[in-house]
């Protein structure tokens, strides 16, 4: 028997290529292409007065210089607003090259094409742009004050505004036995893949076609956008994602200015052109995420059950909103997590600032939402003097309430209905894993040793596998090898392996005989892209369906040839055979030959398929409802997202002197439904947790009041090295299969990062004995908080005596005053 691949921790098929240095990333291609480089704005907000290129024209190797004036037609029009949600009040997008004004440091103004990158940058250095500097808007508070405007015609700097309401939350809060109010803040971070963006384009003048290679999470998206911009028929444009060195969201944004300009110039000049983003460019001209200010009012009963939850969110969307309002929409809906508040109202304002644009970063708004909700749960527990887990449990949606309808609209415009999950079961697992009940003993023991420790817990639900669809194409070649393609792209998630695992089980072929291609419009022109933990759910199921259809066809053809009922056949190790009588069999490759009636035999094997050999002479060689070839293309398009969930706990130790924060243990309970490859899922969790640790303790975008990003390098932006992450992530899985898709899977890609800010705030607060309301938190910030706490400026937790050296009289977090 062929061993089942689905569920097995099989080693990745992509690895050997990558390990030997044979990967092909964007900058590895186009060795003979011209290089592009950009003059970018050094100011956050300015009017462009003049661009003087005189001094640059003599540089040897210069090919072309372009400014906005040179861009024809649609190339010179604003970039598309990709997701035109009705809540967008004033949608503004940038130009491929700035027109008259710049709205953030790093915005491209001039494009230079030259013989190589060194020369292109020499040219950039000789171009003089004169600016009239305008007052910049930096940070949520400044944007909200609206003393200055980012876009002259956008009042209040408001790009979008949305209210969703279930029940009368303000009234429920006001009439509840207890109320609390929390003011919370999360700062900016970013995806920061190790490979930045990059585009390489070549125009084939004879064929009048364009080929674009780009380090993207959506080749079909880029293809459609560029074809439209350049006024080319879609089928004259091919877009391919080569190996991609990490994405984490930033590469789902498209088309980037460079993705329009490089192909445009390649066609204009009829020369191959390539642009590879450098690290500083990535910091100042790609995208960031996370920055929000939140206000929560909550009303609850003596058990801690939330009767009303009223949340306001101010979201910093940067200079433009090409990706719409996806991030704050997700924050506002996924904030609910595994809980069922009596009434819920959420209102957000998405605000323009003179900073880099904000588009989804792994987690995509969920980390902020989970942070708001989980800070609230901790505050309720503290107020009531209850166990933090008990308060959460009192609010959980129960397994018998699934599917659970929140009566809200999710980011995909579809209802927010949880399909599956067992939240009490997950919490039991987490408590057992981390030893929740025994923690107080451990705390005492540590205290006796002069150490300060704290434990935190945080829960989340993640809508994964959003539509509209993905496709799968499965072909059995006459060699018996199987070629699979799907349109979405890969950035290290092991798609080549997991999709092959699915096909291997359906078709009974060994993994090494299956070749998977992703993100190539030549192979699959219909696709959406890789984001929202959707690849395994969407393409996995599409490929699974296509493979099953191929199986059915293979059994039918083999049944005819072997003169047996297809129901009596099985496929084992690439051989179709009669169950129980394995001598009556034929290789899958032969079935493929038979599936394609031939006039011309090109080798011995294909002689078996010529018209003299196969087919009933009274019937057409290909039946009316059939197609030649042992292949199928099918699509998976679910009515709604499937909801994965998880719960994390962390134990930290905070140094009493230096306020350094050390992670002692990190535990994850995770439910992503049926698991295709546990090794890969755990790898995704490891990576997500590391990004979460970065976002909670180290990473932030340090903008000064002028809108200069002060830490735009790896020297200054503190991304975790091995020394900053936990030695071990303790993981326990709960597999509640999704009823929504044939494979029963839910997404797993973003899970690790979602509850990080929340779980660390919870643990640090627990260690210190005073509330944490702003994340990330550095040792020096914690130190400053301790001093303010000692000075009585911030209240102690009231639920238990403070562990900090200076205990003050316990007071409520912030008691809401009736207004």
């Amino acid at each position: 028997m062929t061993t089942k691949q689905f569920g097995a921790p099989v080693q990745r098929t992509e690895d050997v290529r990558l390990l030997k240095g044979n990967g092909r990333y964007l900058d590895d291609l186009g060795q003979d292409a011209l290089a592009a480089a950009f003059v970018r704005s050094p100011h956050a907000h300015a009017r462009i007065v003049d661009i003087d290129v005189t001094d640059a024209l003599e540089v040897e190797g210069l090919v072309a210089i372009y400014t906005h004036e040179d861009l024809p037609g649609r190339v010179g029009e604003p970039l598309p607003l990709l997701i035109p949600h009705p809540a967008i009040v004033a949608g503004r997008t940038g130009y491929a090259l700035a027109k008259d004004r710049v709205n953030h440091v790093g915005e491209p103004i001039v494009m230079v094409v030259a013989s190589d990158r060194y020369v292109a940058e020499d040219v950039c250095g000789r171009i003089t742009v004169t600016y009239e500097v305008l007052p910049p808007v930096v940070g949520v508070e400044t944007a909200r004050d609206a003393k200055h405007l980012v876009h002259e015609d956008v009042a209040g700097n408001v790009a979008g505004h949305l209210v969703q309401e279930v029940g009368d939350a303000p009234a429920a809060v006001d009439s509840a036995p207890h109320t609390l109010e929390l003011d919370l803040k999360v700062e900016r971070s970013a995806c920061i893949p190790m490979e930045g963006r990059g585009v390489y384009a070549r125009w084939d003048a004879d064929d009048e076609s364009l080929r674009i290679y780009t380090s993207t999470q959506t080749t079909t998206g880029v293809r459609a956008a560029v074809a439209t911009k350049l006024d080319l028929p879609l089928n004259r444009v091919e877009c391919i994602a080569p190996d991609v060195g990490g994405g984490f969201g930033v590469k789902i944004m498209h088309p980037w200015p460079e993705e329009v300009l490089v192909p445009w110039a390649a066609r204009l000049l009829d020369r191959e052109i390539k642009w590879t983003e450098d690290r500083r460019e990535h910091f100042v001209s790609s995208a960031h995420e996370r920055g929000q200010v939140q206000k929560v009012r909550v009303g609850f009963d003596d058990e801690g059950r939330v009767l009303g939850l009223d949340v306001k969110i101010w979201h910093d969307n940067g200079a433009y909103v090409p990706y719409g309002l996806i991030v704050p929409i997700i924050t506002s809906t996924q904030l609910l997590g595994p809980y069922k508040p009596g009434a819920y109202k959420v209102e957000f304002w998405s605000l323009y600032t003179n900073t880099v644009i904000v588009t989804p970063y792994r987690g995509a708004g969920r980390p902020q939402g989970v942070y708001a909700m989980e800070r609230t749960m901790d505050a309720i527990a503290d107020y009531l003097g209850k166990d933090r887990v008990a308060v959460r449990e009192a609010n959980f949606i129960q397994p018998d309430e699934m599917p659970y309808d929140h009566h809200m609209i999710f980011q995909d415009g579809r209802p927010l209905i949880y399909d599956s999950g067992d939240f009490p079961g997950s919490m039991d697992k987490l408590k057992a894993l981390v030893g929740w009940q025994d923690f107080e003993d451990y705390r005492e023991q540590a205290r006796a040793e002069g150490r300060r420790v704290g434990i935190g817990v945080a829960c989340y639900v993640e809508g994964t596998g959003v539509g509209p669809y993905e496709g799968g194409h499965v072909v059995v070649e006459s060699t018996g090898k199987v070629v699979v393609s799907t349109g979405l792209t890969s950035q290290g998630q092991g798609h080549e392996t997991v999709f092959a695992q699915i096909v291997a089980d359906e078709l009974g072929v060994p993994l090494e005989d299956i070749k998977v291609t992703t993100g190539d419009t030549r192979k699959m022109g219909y696709s959406v892209g890789t984001f929202a933990s959707r690849a395994a759910v969407m393409s996995g199921n599409a490929i699974g369906i296509a493979a099953r259809n191929v199986r059915t066809k293979a059994l039918r053809i083999a049944g005819e040839a072997l003169e047996v009922d297809p129901g009596d056949l099985e496929i084992v190790d690439g051989i179709v055979r009669v169950k129980g009588s394995p001598t009556s069999s034929m290789p899958l490759g032969t079935v493929a030959v038979l599936s394609n009636p031939l006039r011309y035999a090109f080798d011995t094997a294909s002689q078996a398929a010529t018209q003299f050999v196969v087919g009933d002479p009274d019937k057409p060689p290909v039946a009316e409802d059939d197609e030649p070839g042992l292949e199928d293309r099918d699509f998976y398009s679910p009515a709604q997202s499937t909801y994965a969930n998880g719960m994390h706990a962390v134990i930290v130790e905070t140094d009493p002197e230096t306020a350094e924060i050390k992670i002692l243990r990190y535990c994850v309970v995770h439910d992503c439904g049926n698991i295709i490859n546990p090794m890969i899922v755990e790898g995704q969790i490891h990576g997500g947790v590391a990004q979460g640790v970065g976002g909670a303790l180290y990473e932030r975008m340090e903008y000064d009041e002028n809108g200069q990003l002060l830490n735009a390098s790896f020297m200054d932006f503190l991304m975790p090295y091995v020394t900053e992450v936990p030695d071990r992530i303790e993981i326990d899985h709960l597999e509640t299969p999704s009823p929504l898709n044939p494979l029963g899977i839910k997404g797993a890609g973003e899970a690790g990062v979602i509850p990080s800010a929340a779980v660390f705030a919870s643990a640090i607060e627990d260690a210190e004995g005073f509330t944490i309301t702003s994340m990330p938190i550095s040792p020096s910030e914690l130190y400053a908080l301790r001093q303010r706490f000692a000075a009585g400026e911030i209240p102690a937790l009231r639920g238990r005596s403070a562990t900090a050296s200076t205990a003050t009289t316990p007071t409520p977090v912030t008691e809401a005053t009736t207004r």
Binding site: Q11, L19, D27
Partner: protein, 174 residues
């Protein structure tokens, strides 16, 4: 600089993975660019170009070196080992094999720098402790893996090396 004149270039000779290579490069050409674009060996990756991430690490005369911090002309006459030089034909280097077994890579972009770095560390210290394994990779950035499996790969690589030499001794003894 006089604009109209082509930039002055210098001939250099390097040994890359045991093969003598020559190139004609301007003085400012980084070793990373020379390897990747003049010699077209693109296994060496560039993640920051300012010496922090370690993706561009190659061995220069056996010692790990960030090729983005070295001019190609200064590598004149050196023996360079890149990731392409680690495997022995079809047989993966123990570090490569370990990364595969332990899922030590995801996107693979940082991986060449880890592989070259770790191979040099293991040459010096074939039996690292866990702490030493952490230390070995503490100067390289990876955004995908969270590092746990990379540390496991270092330890596994040492094990594979031992297993292979045990087999070799065994075979020699027969």
């Amino acid at each position: 600089m006089t604009d109209q004149q082509a930039e002055q270039t210098f001939p250099i000779t390097l040994s890359v993975n045991g093969v003598p290579r020559t190139a004609e490069v301007p003085a400012r050409r980084l070793l990373s660019d020379c390897l990747r674009h003049d010699l077209r060996m693109t296994g060496t990756h560039v993640g920051c170009e300012h010496g922090v991430c370690g993706a561009c690490t190659v061995l220069v005369d056996g010692a790990p070196m960030r090729s983005c911090l070295m001019f190609a002309v200064s590598a004149q006459g050196s023996e360079i080992t890149t990731v392409e030089g680690l495997a022995d034909g079809e047989t993966l280097h123990p570090v490569q094999q370990a990364f595969k077994e332990c899922h030590g890579l995801q996107c693979g972009f940082c991986t060449p720098g880890f592989l070259t770095t770790i191979s040099a560390v293991l040459d010096d210290n074939p039996e690292p402790t866990r702490e030493e394994a952490v230390e070995a990779v503490s100067g390289n950035l990876c955004r995908c893996t969270g590092y746990q499996n990379i540390v496991a790969s270092v330890l596994r690589a040492a094990e594979i090396t031992r297993e292979r030499s045990a087999v070799a001794i065994d075979e020699a003894g027969r």
